[in-house]
């Protein structure tokens, strides 16, 4: 930046940047907030904060690991609802914003309220029409009650569409299948506590015209052995099963089935069994005499029954029982050496580190605009300090979040696509700050929060689209902390360096093209050196990372290179950066050429990092579509910048030509 007064060019640049930012946030907002009014859930009362705090750390086995109930609720809500919060109104004009744990507690313990909440996000109204329901809008959210009329038709269609190859399905068919799967999961939660709420009816036990008596499932589990004996005696005597007993067992079977497929919250005392149980599992095991620890599970079921029923006696009593349940199960998990990171994970999501980092990066981005607009005066200096402070704060938040994730996951930071986004977001900011420390020209400083903002926004969009818990354990072939640390981190750092080089060059094109630098050759040289350095770093990291990947493949499978798209993508980055460096050494490209080539590096990095995932390996359908559109938008943006660069270069050369001629004539 030159020490000039604020110029028109700077204001144009600032307006352009503001327009770009506004576009990003408009898209983000539209993506996260489908149309639709706040839904009314009559007589809704919110859960107290204390109850939510009690419920959140209840350990649950899901996705192959032990996590807190709040995490399970968060990702289930994200998958079904497409967001981690929901607005409802209680019919008396009061609005509530439900968070995941509240939403899940409603489903489990207050299903009569939950079924009216707009849980199901539908992005393609054709799917709603197909199941015979009047759609509310192209994209909207529906409650379980809204969808119940089309439940049967949905099942039929889902069965038909599941026979179509996933690549051949149209968006409507995919949406129908997703909805069917989401509805099944929801019903698994909705009916989970029905065994506790309803118990079983003892047919023929009524006296004096009163309704039949009811019994608790846990009571039947206590006499499971006797019931088994009765069954065997009846069979041995050649009699059929007595009608009353058959009725009773059918009710137990139904109750167990409702509570079987979700919520695996009961850890076995036996450490050799690694799979936790749902209520349905332990009810069936005990009733069939298969359980190795029936007393433990009967006590569990009793406590679950007490907890569910105690809600009628007020939330305080309910909370007390919920706390007992949580403590009992947590202790048993601890005895197995599990659930060590549950509290840490609850706190991790409560602190919302990345959202806070995003806020800081946003402040940094706004301060950057001011810094670049004001130039080197007092206002510019103040803006620079604000930018530095906000960016550093955002970076620290990201680093803390990544460290916490590593502790929770017990593995290095990068193991899946989501991990790469937050890692690249963090390291690209770190690299930019290092470049700033080396150059002290405020261009890398300004780029740092902008890239931080963009990448954190991208990570949130990806998480929203994917709807999966990215802390879940990795598949066997990736289960190597050594190679995840060496190969994966190196190659991901290479992506960061490549992207930073490209964005530094984009800034250079903007600066020189719009003459914002006032012809400051020193600044331009500084830019060029920074970009050259970043390309060298990109080459170094990408080459080492690629070869390490080959060595890993050779070590694990006995082949160094398999022409896999991901491998090819990494090779492309190496080849491209080598081509740039050789072309520069040969004098074929100079400043303009280096920067234009560097901008194209972003396209190659994006192809390698992101695009190859779409070539054969499918992601979740939302993530797939959203990700793919984002890629094309990014390529288009890079093409525009490149085109602008070529135009600016041509204009500058044309402007210089008459001057040179004049000089020659003189």
């Amino acid at each position: 930046m030159t020490a000039t007064r604020p110029s028109t060019g700077r204001w144009i640049a600032a307006v352009l940047a503001a327009a770009g930012l506004a576009t990003v946030f408009y898209n983000l907002l539209m993506d996260n907030m489908p149309k639709g009014e706040v839904r009314e859930v009559e007589n809704y009362t919110p859960w107290s904060a204390e109850t939510l705090r009690t419920a959140a750390p209840l350990p649950i086995q899901d996705g192959g690991r032990i996590k807190p109930l709040s995490t399970y609720a968060g990702f289930t809500m994200l998958r079904l609802h497409g967001a981690r919060s929901m607005k409802i109104e209680d019919g008396k004009g009061k609005e509530y914003k439900l968070k995941p744990t509240e939403w899940l507690l409603d489903i489990l313990f207050r299903p009569q309220l939950a079924i009216h909440q707009p849980t199901f996000r539908i992005d393609n109204s054709a799917a709603i029409e197909a199941i015979g329901i009047e759609p509310r809008g192209k994209r909207d959210r529906y409650s379980y009650a809204d969808l119940s009329a089309g439940r049967e038709k949905l099942g039929e269609l889902a069965q038909t569409y599941s026979g179509i190859d996933s690549k051949e399905r149209d968006p409507m068919q995919t949406q129908v299948l997703d909805l069917a799967s989401n509805l099944r999961a929801y019903e698994g939660l909705l009916g989970w506590f029905s065994f506790a709420r309803n118990g079983v009816t003892l047919a023929g036990s009524s006296e004096n015209g009163a309704p039949d008596k009811r019994a608790e499932i846990s009571s039947l589990m206590m006499v499971a052995e006797t019931l088994q004996q009765q069954l065997e005696e009846s069979r041995a005597a050649g009699r059929g099963i007595p009608e009353g007993l058959q009725n009773l067992l059918q009710q137990v079977l139904d109750a167990a089935n409702y509570a079987k497929n979700e919520l695996f919250i009961l850890p076995p005392s036996d450490r050799s069994q690694d799979q936790w149980k749902s209520a349905g599992n332990v009810i069936m095991d005990t009733m069939q005499g298969k359980s190795k620890e029936p007393e433990t599970y009967i006590a569990d079921i009793q406590l679950l029954e007490t907890t569910a029923r105690s809600l009628g006696g007020g939330e305080a009593t309910f909370r007390e029982n919920l706390a007992k349940l949580r403590d009992r199960l947590t202790q048993r998990a601890a005895d197995r050496g599990e659930a060590k990171s549950v509290s840490l994970e609850v706190a991790y999501y409560q602190r919302n580190w990345f959202l806070n980092a995003l806020v800081f990066f946003l402040i940094g981005t706004l301060a950057t605009m001011a810094m670049w607009t004001f130039g080197y005066n007092r206002a510019g200096l103040i803006s620079a300090w604000i930018t530095t402070a906000a960016t550093a704060a955002g970076l620290i938040y990201c680093l803390i979040a990544i460290t916490k994730r590593c502790i929770i996951m017990q593995r290095p930071p990068v193991g899946n696509l989501y991990d790469t986004i937050i890692f690249i977001g963090t390291t690209v900011v770190l690299l930019a700050l290092i470049v700033e420390w080396l150059t002290r020209r405020r261009f890398a400083l300004g780029i740092a929060p902008i890239l931080g903002t963009a990448l954190i926004v991208l990570s949130r969009r990806f998480e929203l689209g994917d709807g999966a818990d990215h802390m879940d354990p990795l598949v066997a072939v990736l289960d190597s902390n050594f190679w995840l640390t060496t190969h994966v981190i190196t190659i991901t750092l290479g992506y960061s360096a490549g992207l930073l080089a490209a964005f530094l060059s984009s800034a250079y094109i903007l600066l020189r093209g719009l003459d914002l630098d006032g012809g400051d050759r020193d600044l331009r040289r500084s830019f060029t050196r920074a970009v050259y350095g970043m390309i060298c770093v990109t080459l170094f990291l990408s080459l080492v990372g690629t070869v390490l990947g080959g060595i890993w493949a050779n070590y694990s499978w006995g082949r160094f290179w398999g022409w896999d798209p991901k491998e090819n993508g990494a090779l492309l980055i190496c080849i491209w950066t080598l081509a740039i460096l050789h072309a520069r050494l040969g004098g074929y490209i100079r400043e303009w050429g280096l920067h234009l080539s560097s901008i194209f590096t972003a396209v190659i990095v994006t192809f390698s990092w992101w695009h190859v995932n779409f070539l054969g390996v499918g992601l979740h359908n939302y993530g797939f579509t959203a990700g793919k559109n984002t890629i094309w938008a990014f390529y288009a943006a890079m093409a525009v910048i490149l085109a602008a660069g070529f135009v600016a270069m041509a204009v500058e050369k044309n402007r210089r030509a008459p001057q040179s001629q004049a000089a020659a004539t003189d």
């Binding site: 936790w276 770093v537 390490l548 050494l585």
Partner: protein, 411 residues
Amino acid sequence: MEPSSPDTPAKPPRSLAGRIFDVLSGFGLATILLLLMGLLTWFATLEQVEVGLYLTLKKYFHWQSFFLLPEIKGKIVPLPLPGGYWVGALLLVNLTLGGVIRIRKGWKHAGNLIAHAGIIFMLVAGGVAHHFSERGNMALPEGQTSDTAEDYFEYVVEVAEITDGKPRDIHVIRGKHLTDLSAGHNRLFRLPAMPFDLEIGGYLRNALPVAITERAPASNELVADGYYLMSRPDEVNDRGEPALEANTAACYGRIVDRDGTKSTPIILAGASFHPFTIERDGRTFTLDMRKRLWPMPFTVQLDEFIADFHPGTSRPAKFISKITRIEHDSAAKVTIQMNEPMRYEGLTFFQASYGSQSSNSGQMFSVFEVVRNPADKWPEYSLYVVTFGMLVTFLTKFGGYLAAGSRRKKP
């Protein structure tokens, strides 16, 4: 390699050889070849999605492919590109001439020289692995032992004498001596330990013996005992890609007795369930075509196979084969799993696959990929060299940047 400076005083004109050397070792050629290699890699990545990896590699990187037209989503891109093999070969020449021979020598360029040498070493490692490595597989049920691996592709003819119900004096005719014996070409193989020799011809890389009563020969194929060999195209997998390991080779043979008498033709086919049996002088011999068995210098016993999944999911956590490696009189317990192969005596055993013997028994079997690669560790060593070279280069430049004091203090 340095570009010539415009201020350099006039030099006598370069000889033709010198000019060729300049071009071959120049930055210009390096840049062009790198760009071409990048384009080829990019198109090959996209094209493999449509036509499969095997055909794509054949089109883009086989030595017989000199020029090609890329294809995206079934549409030809009108951009003729040179074959990747030749671009790579030229790049290797450029790298050697420019990056090792022509490059300025001295401490300032030592890093570059080391990095270039490391890359050459890496490419050599790839070539050695490609031409000299051997691959096979060993499938073992729990509790059983084996001291042989089966080659994935190579079919051989085995001639053995059967004594006490077991094959003895096994004579193996390797695949490289058979594959050129197309129809009309025969070769006589001397078998000194047997009372006969064997003449082989009419080799087919994928064929089935078919009874003439079932299907008449299409083009005068030789008929042996009512059967002839029906040639088949290469086998393909579910994605339509060639699955050459599933081919079953076959050929015709004639027994040539010591008095020169030739028998009627016999069929030796990989697809046959039983070997061909003959009697000579009261002795029994078998002739068989099968995939080459590769003797191991030790015996492997599979003690237990464990397929471990993350609890409550179908996501694999670990595939573990617990084996005993038996050698002479000693036995060693070894665990082979994903990311932890067994490397021993130049052989590497990788955990490749598994299954259960039958639906009821619960007994598992494990499949190991067995590889002998003389350049197994070379890529790793080359990586150290390249990393060191690049670090020297870049850190030298970075040091120079810092020393030059080009960091702006304050405007």
